[in-house]
Amino acid sequence: MLDPRSLRRFRKNRGALVGLGIVVALGLYALLAPALSAFPPELSDFTAPRTPSGTLSGPSARHWLGVDHLYRDVWSRLAHGARISLGVALLATTLSSVVGASVGMLAGWFESTRARLVDTLLMRLVDIGLSFPYLLLVMAIGAALGDVTLSTILLVLGLTSWFGTARLIRSKTIQVRGLDYVLASRALGQSTFRLLLKHVLPNVAGPLIVVASASVAQMIIAESVLSYLQVGLPPPTATWGRMLQEGQSYLGVSPRLAVAPGVCIFLAVLGFNLLGEGLRDALDPRED
């Protein structure tokens, strides 16, 4: 994985460091959410003043980013939104990486053996998965259940996003399989499971991390799109997508309500994209 040389390359990559910085900052913001604000994200504070024309009270010592249209603390809601966005994205990516890597390694390993049928079947499954409209699926499930929970979103995002990972890991596994020492281990009669774990996994871990990092960015977008389209977590849960959807109505009087979650979504996605690129450059340097 990150050997000293890769680490050095990573440290020299300014973009990657910025990405890492953004990610760490957002992570801290999410983790420390309850400590950072005295106001629960779902509770209205009717003592917050409001002008007769409906303008919402802006930033103050009490409410650092002001309150939203229902007098709720924006700073606190953003922090909780960060928890959901990052939490969903990281967990769903983990799920998707585990499934994708397992399927990819199995398929790649059996690619040219007698058990090649395993590869064919798995790759066919991947093809089917890639031609499945996942957004529609999530929405249909949400609409049918009338109730979307965190685990619904997690499972759906995680289980519909591993197909690309599987393809990539499969091709890497095929490369690794042909390496001399792997062939030697095979000749020594080690079990397939041990071989995959001991030799293949360490070799595909690099690409897996790179893909996962980019995938986190996509998951953040996916979760915010679901919330934006109002098919994600139900209100009053604070999510960035929902905050943006609600806040855009007030762009004229209180632009911060839409701008703040918009900036958060953008920064989070940018952070993970930068991090992903940095990791890729560090782990898989191009000769130039």
Binding site: F132, M139, A144, A217
Partner: protein
Amino acid sequence: MIAHLLRKLGWSVFTIWAVVTATFFVFNVLPEDPARVIAGPQARPQDVARIREQLGLDRPLLIRYAQYTSQLVRLGGGTPGDGTLSLGVARIDLGVSHLKRRPVVELLGRALPPTLLVGSLALVFQLLLGTCAGVVSAARRGTIFDWGTVALTLVGISAPTFLIGLVLQYLLARGLHWFPLDGYGRSFAERLHAAVLPALTLGLFGAAYYTRLIRDELLGLLGQDYVRTARAKGQRELVVLLKHALRNALIPLVTVIGLDLGALVGGAIVTEKIFRWPGIGALSVEAIVDRDGPVVMGVVLLFSSAVVLANFLVDVAYALLDPRVSRGR
């Protein structure tokens, strides 16, 4: 090569069948009365009872499934306007939307042209911008231009569609009055004009992505012998890139375009919602919010067919671009 493509075609049909099957089972496993889900909450009790009878919901799941598929594709010509799609000897019957009381085939047929218009515009836009920016950026690597391009593409890749869409709508339609705010015009010229903003919204992400792809591919190819040779002959960098490297960089691009093509046919849900564009994406959102089961099944079928078809076309393109494919594996 023909055999190879035929095999691919077979797999494509299989994939579509599998997606339809999966959707069917997802709809039937969900903890709500399937007849209700299919009929939608607007359907009256008589309608639900009729659908339940049609589907034989008291019968085992597998028998219901067989009935569904046999209804989906029927042999025989069919008459125009009977709500089915004739494909020579067979016709596709996707049922009737319970909300709009119109055959699903007709609804899809009406929503497809707007989606194709925006989709193709977006594709052209991202191809043009992406290729140009990618090539120039690779040729001028290390310069301010390259650095700026890379930074811009990162922004393009990181901004969700709804952010881009809202900002574009605000700047170009409300502010500068260059384009209509939303909607779908009456004449083709009007439609083309109205399609620009949604197409830009969709295309910006693609353009950023293509730029990166082309730039990275080109930089990767610079180390290759034939590029070095060409350089050694004293050709200008841009010429080297365009004449020798770009052709090779196109192969991964074809794959990505193929994937995009399929996805664009499936409609852009967010973009179509923002710009009130009457395409497949808007249709599917509406169908899902209103639980119009037959329409959802229809959209899923259309989407997966488009993706599969696009993949097949990519395979064909591969076979043409790179003769090794047909011999290998």
